[in-house]
């Protein structure tokens, strides 16, 4: 058990990470960076789950299992997303969102 560090520190950290991720998703121009922002969101959720499990409900392991599954699924999401980006790159030779705008209204 980590001494002197309360649960609120973890919750503050995870909230900050969540909103940094959302900000990055909205602002960034490169598709890979957008994907990294989403990974930051998913990791903030992991911190939440593990911290809640450790501090509040140590008698069962639901939170830690949830975090494990999120890590696995984040990997599959990233692989499918990057596969799609590769097909995109083959067509236009760049992966900036500003070039992915053929369909609008």
């Amino acid at each position: 058990m980590i001494e002197n560090i309360g649960i609120e520190k973890f919750v503050i950290l995870s909230t900050l990470m969540f909103f940094i991720g959302v900000y990055g998703f909205l602002v960034r121009k490169n598709l890979i960076t957008i994907l990294i922002s989403v990974e930051i969101i998913l990791n903030s959720v992991n911190i939440n789950f593990v911290a809640f499990n450790k501090y509040l409900y140590p008698e069962n392991l639901q939170g830690q299992f949830f975090a494990l599954f999120i890590i696995a699924i984040a990997a599959t999401e990233a692989s499918v997303a990057i596969a799609i980006f590769v097909t995109l790159y083959r067509r236009i030779k760049m992966i900036d969102v500003e070039n992915v705008n053929k369909m609008k209204y």
Binding site: G21, V38, L56, V80, I84, K102, M103
Partner: protein, 472 residues
């Protein structure tokens, strides 16, 4: 664990078995065309078994549950996917460049359906999340399926990014709910969830995550682009099956876990519903591409669904199920015609359909019936489902919402009739020439027409759904 308990998961087990069989046959043979009939027969078998054999019970300590109502939901999804598979035969078999990919297409489509089934019968949030992702990630691969087209890759990019963001937001909500209640099982949450600020925030995160999938209005921006860029059959899958599955799980979550929140979600759903109907309709009027037009019409249709949730009654639940059953038939009917025309000629603009009736009588009549059903004109089934939804809202006293809904139903009639007018009245010097569709597509359209005509006329179907929904 005994065999009886495994039979609770019969639908999922059969679907995964079909997916594996498809993969094995795909590896063994060189003639990929054989694959398709085999898979259709196996899939019909699964669908029929779902109707015959009812199950009720729980598995894995409540993580997986199955009730007659959930069975009915799975049957609706199975029927819809069967129709889509039949309709995609023309696109897969008649084009030589797609032969290599038949196995992959069927495998991905069926695994996505299996994910939806797991999602619907989930008993805790972990299972729900796994099912949701198993349903979503394969669809992203299917949307970007036409590797040679830029639009398809663009649609895939937009879809996977918005799907991942929405599931991240949903997960954050679930983590807050876990932190405040100490459990992720629906049963436990049902007793312990109460209205505090933090839990209301968690609820709103979860609701917005699911609303992304249903494409209710503030969360709809990905819809039209993805629907336009994806192959037609995938568009019909997204707009009917994927949407129906998300509505089902929203129904289960609202009526079991968040039943204590009903005053919050009644209010929220009223606003979401008004926004969705109005904006979907207004954008649908100005579309010229038929796929994009159907995308916005499906957004507008999704706006009617929250009317049935209001009040949280079991009658409302059965009305939502009935509405979605008919919506699946009529939407797939319209998309089926578009799919036949697109795979034969490659045309998907509304002006190309001028004078369509002169050359293709059968197809234009099917299209007309589906559009009438979507608009809600009396003899066809769409009228009854919309009427029942309006009755639910009226019974709870939401007259303003009802007023907006009726106005929107009228506006939607205008743009559906635009397409009918183009087909039957407008003149065209070079109409689309006569299309002879294959057996599969004919069978798929026939199922749609039967569904559109008869589900409304026989009250026994609604009564049957209503008896099931008592045990939600």
């Amino acid at each position: 664990m005994t065999i009886d308990q495994f039979l609770l998961m019969k639908n999922e087990i059969l679907l995964i078995a079909i997916a594996v069989i498809v993969l094995i046959i795909d590896l063994m043979t060189d003639n990929k065309k054989i694959l398709f009939p085999v898979m259709i027969i196996l899939f019909i078998f699964t669908t029929v078994i779902g109707f015959i054999y009812q199950t009720d019970g729980e598995l894995f300590g409540g993580m997986y549950r199955s009730t007659p109502l959930i069975n009915m939901m799975k049957n609706i999804l199975n029927t819809g996917v069967l129709i889509i598979l039949l309709q995609s035969a023309g696109w897969l078999i008649n084009k030589a460049e797609n032969h290599e990919n038949i196995g992959g297409f069927c495998f991905i489509l069926i695994s996505s359906l299996a994910g939806m089934c797991f999602m619907i019968s989930s008993g805790d949030f972990l299972m729900f999340y796994l099912g949701l992702e198993l349903a979503t990630i394969p669809i992203a691969a299917l949307v970007a399926y036409e590797k040679m087209k830029f639009l398809s890759a663009e649609a895939g990019t937009k879809f996977i990014l918005s799907a991942v963001l929405s599931s991240g937001i949903l997960l954050y909500g679930i983590s807050i709910l876990y932190g405040t209640n100490g459990s992720i099982l629906f049963k436990d949450l049902n007793n312990s969830v109460e209205i505090t600020n933090l839990q209301a925030l968690a609820f709103i995160f979860i609701l917005s995550g699911i609303a992304f999938k249903i494409s209710l209005v503030p969360f709809h921006l990905w819809t039209a682009d993805v629907y336009e860029g994806a192959p037609v059959n995938i568009t019909s899958f997204l707009s009917s099956i994927s949407k129906a599955a998300s509505v089902f799980i929203l129904l289960i979550l609202l009526f079991t876990v968040f039943i204590n929140f009903s005053e919050i979600w009644n209010e929220l759903l009223v606003y979401l519903s008004i926004l969705t109907m109005t904006i979907g309709n207004l954008f649908a009027i100005r579309q010229q591409n038929l796929k994009r037009f159907l995308a916005f019409s499906s957004i507008a249709q999704a706006g009617f669904i929250p009317l049935g949730f209001i009040g949280g009654t079991s009658l409302g639940a059965s009305t939502v199920l009935y509405f979605l059953l008919i919506y699946v038939f009529s939407n797939l009917g319209a998309f089926g015609v578009v799919s036949v025309v697109t795979s034969a000629t490659g045309k998907e603009s509304m002006n190309d359909y001028n004078g369509f009736y002169k050359t293709n009588r059968g197809l234009s009549i099917v299209m007309m019936l589906s559009l009438f059903s979507l608009a809600g004109i009396p003899p066809v089934a769409g009228f009854f489902s919309k009427f029942f939804l309006f009755t639910i809202a009226a019974k709870q006293g939401y007259y303003f919402l009802l007023f907006i809904a009726v106005i929107n139903a009228t506006i939607s009639l205008y743009y559906y009739l635009l397409v009918v007018k183009a087909m039957f009245i407008n003149e065209n010097e070079q109409p689309i020439e006569k299309i002879t569709s294959d057996v599969y597509a004919k069978l798929g359209l026939a199922i749609c027409v039967l569904g559109i005509v008869f589900t409304g006329l026989f009250g026994i179907i609604f009564d049957y759904i209503n008896t099931l929904s008592k045990g939600i």
